[in-house]
Symmetry: D2
Subunit: 105 residues, 4 copies
């Protein structure tokens, strides 16, 4: 799957429904939070690692959907904001290597 093809397909989905007018940067940013919170909600009352693993096992399908929703809104945000996601990712990974140097490296 090429990212470019996914973005084209998402754009097409949005535009055939005439939803671009709702896709302001702010609305997309808060949509990312809304979907992320739905993911976190699955772990709301866990108090140890075993319970988290049980959630992973029992809610696998729901988790995959929330994850996909987050990514979809992230891609829509990048589309309206004119952000190159792959470039942003590469640059951030490089920056993190600088910010958190390994001792004795």
């Amino acid at each position: 799957m090429e990212l470019e093809d996914v973005i084209k397909s998402l754009r097409d989905f949005r535009d055939r429904r005439n939803w671009l007018r709702y896709h302001t940067p702010k609305n997309l940013a808060l949509s990312i939070i809304i979907e992320s919170t739905e993911l976190l909600e699955l772990f709301q009352w866990t108090t140890n690692a075993e319970e988290e693993i049980r959630v992973l096992d029992e809610k696998r399908g729901e988790i995959a959907e929330e994850i996909a929703d987050i990514l979809i809104y992230l891609l829509y945000f990048c589309d309206v904001a004119g952000i190159d996601l792959e470039k942003a990712l590469r640059e951030k990974i490089a920056r993190n290597e600088m910010r958190f140097p390994l001792e004795g490296k």
Copy 2:
């Protein structure tokens, strides 16, 4: 950039710092929210579209970093949860086509 290579690089970054122990699914889910909120914070007090566009123009670098941070934690989440992100995305896109049918289609 292949997603598989990015994931390998992120795993390597994490493991050389011995950070896997902090990467519980719950901690990664809430880290996605933390980064998303930093993105939204840039738009906290805007009240119209023009102001949102000004934020996009003036904070381009910061926005790209927040976007990358969200994706990085999303990838780390998928890694510990054993979720295939590309498959989740493809399936969700297909499901959305069913959930929001086009009239007259």
Copy 3:
């Protein structure tokens, strides 16, 4: 309504259900976010002030419930964390006066 009475009533509700074990500070902090996000979700796709006012009109009951949920988790958080909410509020209000001085004052 005295705050002290509300807190007693909330404690009683929680303890009769044996829920204190789930009420870790972290779980309560994220529960505040979960409820706040449910409030924000009502405004997810608005793009101007008129639409926000329409949401206020049409979802009044739901909004009041989300608001109450946020406050309830805030009070539970203060209870387990040993925070005096009224004191915290008074001190923060005083601090804000210092942080944002009025010009010509």
Copy 4:
């Protein structure tokens, strides 16, 4: 401290700075999330109860400030939305008693 006095003081603070124009319901709802996320961030990487308690001990002042910020935005939200917070709280507490009945009661 009477809630009514606090609200008057908050209104006065806001209006002398001419900030009401930024206080749309949506902006206040997302401000509640922003402050809640700052609270949660203090617990971002904890993995057990002891670490949460250590955060409570070491960040007491910061926690109290975040808590106050959440409450302040909640009160501002209620002010612009015309919500009676005490009434909303009382009604929600009563509703929760119905929703979560005690067995054998």
